[in-house]
């Protein structure tokens, strides 16, 4: 691809999911969560910052629409539990906000935008252990791009996206990026 091309045009050319498709994927995941947890009782949605948090919020809203059920929703920052901290300068922490009542005995659904190496999820499992003892932990992701480095899989997947490791997947969400889209680009064009 020509490096002189503007970034947006290049990424637009490779949109894998548009706003409508993201909406449908989340609707399906919300239904699947209800189905698999037998009606969503005792379920907590925990988003992993940054973009997992609005995704968890959206899933909770959907479940509310479908079943009239108020699903507690929060965020879980995994920075302090990452295994690659020493490879980069210290980074700012995200927010951890647990719903009232904590995670003990609950079915916790971790929500993230992209599942890649699985290392973020491993860190999230460690972080969660320090916060309490959930009955079950499940994982929902908008995009599973493969290339796992740990024995981790998602329970709910918006879209399986076969990628090469040279490629970069960007999830854009209206709450953070002012638009909804999933983009794929070559390494060189990472913003």
């Amino acid at each position: 691809m020509d490096a002189a091309e503007p970034l947006v045009a290049r990424r637009d050319g490779l949109a894998v999911l548009d706003a409508e498709e993201i909406r449908r994927a989340l609707t399906r995941i919300a239904h699947e969560i209800l189905e698999r947890t037998h009606g969503g009782d005792e379920v907590i949605l925990l988003g992993i910052p940054t973009r997992g948090v609005p995704l968890a919020r959206r899933l909770a809203d959907r479940i509310g629409e479908f079943e009239g059920l108020e699903v507690p929703c929060g965020s879980l920052d995994v920075t302090m539990h990452r295994d690659d901290l020493r490879l980069r300068p210290a980074r700012a922490l995200g927010r951890t906000e647990l719903p009232v009542g904590g995670v003990d005995g609950k079915t916790v659904v971790l929500v993230d935008d992209v599942l890649y190496s699985g290392r973020t999820v491993r860190a999230a499992l460690d972080a969660l252990t320090d916060l309490g003892r959930p009955r079950t932990v499940q994982l929902a992701v908008l995009v599973d791009r493969g290339h796992r480095e740990l024995p981790i899989r998602a329970d709910y997947v918006g879209k399986n996206l076969p990628t090469s490791q040279r490629e970069v997947v960007h999830v854009l969400l209206a709450e953070v990026d002012a638009q909804d889209a999933v983009m794929i680009s070559d390494e060189g064009s990472q913003p």
């Binding site: 920052d77 302090m80 539990h81 210290a90 980074r91 700012a92 922490l93 951890t96 320090d130 916060l131």
Partner: protein, 317 residues
Amino acid sequence: MKRHLISAADLSRGDALLILDTAEELASLADRPIKKLPTLRGRTVVNLFFEDSTRTRISFEAAAKRLSADVINFSAKGSSVAKGESLKDTALTLEAMGADAVVIRHGASGAAHRLAGWVRGSVVNAGDGTHEHPTQALLDAFTIRRRLKGAATRGAGLDGIRVTIVGDVLHSRVARSNVLLLSTLGAEVTLAAPPTLLPLAVDTWPCAVSYDLDSELPKSDVVMMLRVQQERMNAAYFPSVREYSRRYGLDTARMARLPEHAIVMHPGPMNRGVEIAADVADSARSTIVEQVANGVTTRMAVLYLLLGGTEFPEVAQ
């Protein structure tokens, strides 16, 4: 962020806000069943204390331990220093033991700065003579922000907040660090002290100066009382403790002149009845106990930001 934390002047507004925001996230740790994070596992933090200190040393120790670092406490009493070892030799010994960070408290101004030139790890100044005590200023800023700006404080500075620092500014490293840091964060700082207890070059500091505490009180959002450092009083800076207390001590009557929302701070240890009356120290406006709790959180943030990431390139070579 720089590799060391020697002076509050080393911190840009962005650095300071990063530390405060990190501390804000770490504060929730105190409410969790497991008050520990694995982040600094395998890192060694040396507490090198040449001066007596309980709260600062314990605070740093708790902060390092909550981040899973190994802590070595070294106090000058009963150590090789008592046998006449120089600061440099002590530093080289610590270096050989593989300290990733050295927290130093020393009676001589500039000791932390000298140490930073001798060791490879990060140096955190925990008070050097009458020079600086940057983590105290950070925890004070954190306390002010939490109390006066509420919960949604992420990214917010202290713009427009009026802070009056009262008392022995001359001998106070806390005052100097606070003036530098609070003004970086946008606060308006006024020093209220007798002329004998103000340093010579105070006109070069980014703050206002007043000799009259009573006129400053009604327009202060924060009053920070400094300890009268009797151990540093080699000359007669004021006629008598009682006279000092009358003019610059914070008693109930003076506290009543403060605006409704104003808070009273003290870095501790307090001389009750000298710079602060017991009623005032125990009142709901006083943040003194909160400051201690916030000290651990803020120091965790500092240690995490200095040690949590990759080694600094100039060290790795």
